[in-house]
C-alpha cells in the first residue's frame, strides 16, 4: 500500500494502518531493532513499541517519509531499551563507541543542550555531502549501531578498513562542526 494511504488510515484512526505498517515495514524495523538490541525477543517488544508510538504520534504528525520516520522511532525505542537495561545492569546490553573518545569532549554544556536540533541539522548537511559508501558506513555505525565486524561483513571490507574509514569521517565531521561553530 502506498505510504500516503497508510498515513491516511492513521488519521482515520483505522487500525488497519498498523496492519499495513507491519506488513510493509515490520521486517524492516525489526531488523533495525535486532541490530541494536542483538536479541529477537527484545526486538519484538521494541517493534510493538514502535507501532504504538506511531499510533500515538500520527496524527498530529504527518511524516513525509514513513519509512524514515518509523526507522527513527524504532532506533530511539531500541536505544531506550538499551538505557533501561543498562540501568538495570543487565549484562551485554551496553553499546560501546570507543572511537568517539577522540571525537567528543565528554562534557555537557548548556549550549550543547540548546543546539541539539541544530547539531542534527548540521550533521545531516555533512552526511549528505559524503560519498555514498562512506555515508552508509557512518550511518551503519552510528545510526544503526552496527559493530565494525558487522559493517565489515555487510560491505565486504576488513574491520580495519571500516575503522579507518569511520575515523576519517569523524575527523572530517569534527572539522566541519567546529567550522560551523559547534563546541565539540
Amino acid at each position: 500500500m502506498d505510504d500516503s494511504r497508510i498515513i491516511e488510515l492513521f488519521f482515520e484512526r483505522n487500525e488497519a494502518a498498523l496492519k499495513e505498517v507491519s506488513k510493509k515495514y515490520g521486517a524492516y524495523c525489526a531488523g533495525i531493532a535486532r541490530g541494536i538490541l542483538k536479541n529477537s525477543e527484545d526486538a519484538e517488544e521494541c517493534l510493538n513499541d514502535t507501532y504504538m508510538s506511531a499510533w500515538d504520534s500520527i496524527p498530529p504528525k504527518r511524516p513525509t517519509s514513513l519509512g524514515g520516520y518509523l526507522g527513527k522511532i524504532t532506533r530511539n525505542n531500541a536505544l531506550n531499551r538499551i538505557n533501561f537495561f543498562s540501568r538495570q545492569k543487565r549484562a551485554g546490553d551496553t553499546l560501546s563507541f570507543d572511537e568517539l573518545d577522540e571525537f567528543v569532549s565528554g562534557k555537557y554544556s548548556a549550549e550543547d543542550l540548546t543546539s541539539e536540533t541544530e547539531l542534527a541539522a548540521a550533521i545531516s548537511a555533512f552526511i549528505k555531502k559524503l560519498p555514498q559508501k562512506t555515508r552508509e558506513l557512518f550511518l551503519g555505525r552510528y545510526w544503526e549501531m552496527l559493530s565494525h565486524e558487522e559493517l565489515a561483513g555487510r560491505y565486504k571490507m576488513s574491520e580495519s578498513a571500516v575503522a579507518v574509514a569511520l575515523g576519517r569521517t569523524l575527523k572530517k565531521l569534527k572539522e566541519y562542526l567546529l567550522k560551523e561553530g559547534f563546541e565539540i
Binding site: D2, D3, S4, K23, K24, Y25, A27, Y28, G31, T64, S65, G67, G68, Y69, G71, K72, R75, L79, L95, F97, L100, F103, V104, S105, G106, K107, Y108, S109, D112, E116, L119, A120, A121, I123, S124, I127, K128, P131, Q132, K133, R135, E136, L139, Y142, W143, E149, A152, G153, K156, M157, S158, E159, S160, A161, V164, A165, R168, F182, E183, I184
Partner: protein, 519 residues
C-alpha cells in the same frame, strides 16, 4: 558534547537521509523485502552474475563471481508503472527514447550481445550474464555515468549505489547496456573491493550529471585443506564465523594429483535470493551442472615450494597467465609451501627464532650452511636516526631481543629467499612473487601506508629491498579519463598508484588507500 548527545543527534537526522539509507539492500534481506513489496515482476527481476578481474602487473589475476542483482530495476520499479509510490517511472516507455547511441568498445560486445536478446519485462532469474575485463591493470578503475533524473526511462543503480541517490537514467537502450556492463564490472570489483569512492564530478549543461567512481580492489585469499577449499570470510560475507567453506557448497574438486588440483565452483552470490524467512539461499553443489555456463574453474598447482591458485571462468584459458600465490598462517601445514619439513628454510627459521645474539645467529647459520647457500645475514636495530627509523640500523654484534631488534634477514640461494623479523612478528619472504602476504607486496603496502612523500616512499622501498630485486619505483597521479601522470616528488596522496618494477620485466602496481591492500 558527550557520546550520548552525539548518538542522540544522529537519531534526529533528516528523514530523507534515513530513508535513503534504509533503502540499502542488506544481505539479511530487510531492505530487499521492502523493495520486493514495491514490485515483483518488472524488467530484470533477477540478473545474475558479474565478473571480476583484478589484474596485477606481471601476475595477472582473474577471478569471477556471480550474483543476482537486487538493485536492478525490478527491485524498485513499480509493477503498475505508477511513479507515485516509488518515484520510479515505468520502463515500458523507455525504449521510446532515441538519442545518440553509445559507442561500444570491443570488450563490451559480449555482454551487449547477450543483453540485446532481452526484452522489457523479461525475468532473468535463470539467466546468467557474464562479463569480464582484461587488460593491464583493473585494480583501479574509474567509471563515469550520465544521469538525468528528469528523464523517464530505464534506469539502473550506481555500481555501489544502494539507495535512491544512486538512481541513474540511461537515455537510450544502448546506454542501458553500457551501464549494465559497467555495473557488472563494478559489482564484480565490489566483490573484492577494499574501498570504492563515488563522487559527482560535474553537472553538465544538458542537465545530466557525471559520476565518477573509483574501485580499489583487493585479492581474495584462498586456502586448501584436506577436506576442501576455503576462502577467508572477511573478503566476502562474514555472517558465518571462522572460515566459509569455499565455494559455499557450490564447488567440487574435479581432479587431484600430488601437485595439481582442479575444481569447479559457483561463485558466491553477493545478493542471494531470500527464502520466506528472509534468509539467503546459496547455490548448492548440484547446481553446478545447472549453471554450467557460468561455473568457474580453479586450478591449484604446487610450484616452487608453494601452492598457486589460478581461477578462471570455465572455457576461458588463462593458462599462460601467472597464477596467484596463496598462503596463510592459519593453515600453516598446507599453505605454507615454503616451509617444507626439515627443509633448509625451516631449519634456518628455527635458528633465527632461537638465536640470542647476532654472533650466535651467524655461528649457527654457518654450521647449517654446509653448501655455501647463504649470501648475506643482516640484522638491524631500531634507531632514532631518520635514515633508519622505519627499517632499523644494521648491526654486526649484540643481543637479539624484542623491542630492540627490528629486522633479521638471511638471504640464500640465487632465488633470494630469506627470513625476516619485522617489528615483532616472524615473516617469510617470498620467492619471485609479490602477490603474497608477508612478502615484498606486504612490505610495499606498508611503506605506501606510512610514507608521506614520494621521496620517502622510494627510500623506504629501497631500504627494504634487501634482495636488490627492485629496479624502479614510479608513482602516478590520476588525471581522469583513464589517464595518469608520473610524479617524482611531493606528497603521496590517497588514490595515487605506485608501480614497482622488479626482477626481469616484471612489475606490480599498488594503490595508496586507507587500508593496506595487496593488489
Amino acid at each position: 558534547m558527550t557520546k550520548q548527545q552525539f548518538i542522540k543527534a544522529i537519531g534526529n537526522l533528516d528523514d530523507d537521509i534515513i530513508e535513503a539509507y534504509l533503502g540499502t539492500p542488506f544481505d539479511d534481506g530487510r531492505a530487499v523485502k521492502l523493495r520486493a513489496e514495491k514490485s515483483r515482476s518488472s524488467f530484470l527481476k533477477f540478473v545474475g552474475i558479474a565478473a571480476a578481474v583484478v589484474c596485477a602487473a606481471a601476475a595477472a589475476i582473474f577471478a569471477f563471481t556471480i550474483f543476482p542483482l537486487p538493485n536492478t530495476p525490478a527491485d524498485v520499479i513499480s509493477e503498475s508503472g505508477d511513479i507515485s509510490d516509488s518515484g520510479i517511472p515505468d520502463i515500458s516507455s523507455a525504449s521510446k527514447d532515441e538519442k545518440t547511441p553509445v559507442e561500444f568498445t570491443k570488450e563490451d560486445e559480449e555482454l551487449q550481445n547477450i543483453l540485446k536478446e532481452l526484452s522489457p519485462g523479461e525475468e532473468l532469474r535463470d539467466r546468467f550474464i557474464y562479463g569480464f575485463l582484461s587488460g593491464d591493470d583493473h585494480s583501479e578503475q574509474t567509471f563515469k555515468f550520465n544521469c538525468d533524473p528528469e528523464l523517464d526511462g530505464i534506469y539502473v543503480l550506481t555500481p555501489s549505489g544502494r539507495s535512491q541517490s544512486g538512481l541513474m537514467y540511461p537515455q537510450t537502450r544502448e546506454e542501458l547496456y553500457k551501464l549494465l556492463l559497467k555495473y557488472f564490472t563494478f559489482s564484480a570489483a565490489d566483490s573484492f573491493m577494499s574501498e570504492v569512492e563515488t563522487v559527482v564530478k560535474s553537472e553538465n549543461p544538458d542537465g545530466t550529471f557525471t559520476i565518477e567512481s573509483t574501485v580499489y580492489a583487493s585479492l581474495p585469499t584462498f586456502f586448501i585443506t584436506a577436506d576442501g577449499i576455503y576462502r577467508k570470510k572477511d573478503e566476502n560475507v562474514s555472517t558465518v564465523s571462522g572460515f566459509v567453506k569455499f565455494p559455499w557448497n557450490a564447488g567440487k574438486v574435479v581432479s587431484k594429483t600430488d601437485d595439481t588440483i582442479i575444481f569447479t565452483y559457483l561463485p558466491y552470490p553477493t545478493y542471494p535470493e531470500l527464502d520466506e524467512n528472509g534468509n539467503p539461499i546459496y547455490p548448492e553443489l548440484e547446481d553446478i551442472d545447472k549453471y554450467n555456463e557460468c561455473a568457474l574453474k580453479g586450478v591449484l598447482k604446487y610450484e616452487r615450494g608453494g601452492w598457486r591458485l589460478n581461477l578462471t571462468r570455465a572455457g576461458f584459458d588463462f593458462e599462460n597467465d601467472p597464477p596467484i600465490m596463496v598462503k596463510d598462517e592459519e593453515f600453516p601445514d598446507i599453505m605454507q609451501g615454503y616451509m617444507e619439513q626439515d627443509s633448509f628454510n625451516d631449519k634456518l627459521r628455527h635458528i633465527i627464532l632461537t638465536a640470542a645474539s647476532v654472533e650466535e645467529l651467524e655461528r649457527n647459520v654457518k654450521a647449517l650452511d654446509t653448501e655455501s647457500r647463504v649470501n648475506r645475514i643482516l640484522v638491524t636495530e631500531y634507531s632514532d636516526d631518520p635514515t633508519y627509523y622505519k627499517i632499523g640500523k644494521p648491526v654486526t654484534s649484540g643481543s637479539i631481543e624484542s623491542g630492540k631488534t627490528a629486522y633479521i634477514s638471511v638471504l640464500y640461494d640465487d632465488s633470494s629467499d630469506g627470513v625476516v623479523y619485522w617489528y615483532g612478528s616472524w615473516i617469510d619472504t617470498i620467492r619471485g612473487e609479490f602477490n603474497n602476504y608477508e612478502s615484498y607486496g606486504n612490505k610495499i603496502n606498508m611503506y605506501i601506508k606510512i610514507a608521506d612523500t614520494v621521496d620517502e616512499l622510494k627510500e623506504l622501498i629501497r631500504l627494504g629491498d634487501f634482495n636488490k630485486r627492485i629496479t624502479a619505483v614510479r608513482i602516478y597521479r590520476k588525471l581522469g579519463e583513464g589517464k595518469r601522470e608520473e610524479i617524482t616528488s611531493g606528497k603521496l596522496d590517497t588514490g595515487m598508484t605506485v608501480r614497482v618494477e622488479f626482477d626481469v620485466e616484471s612489475y606490480q602496481e599498488f594503490s595508496k588507500t586507507s587500508s593496506v591492500t595487496i593488489t
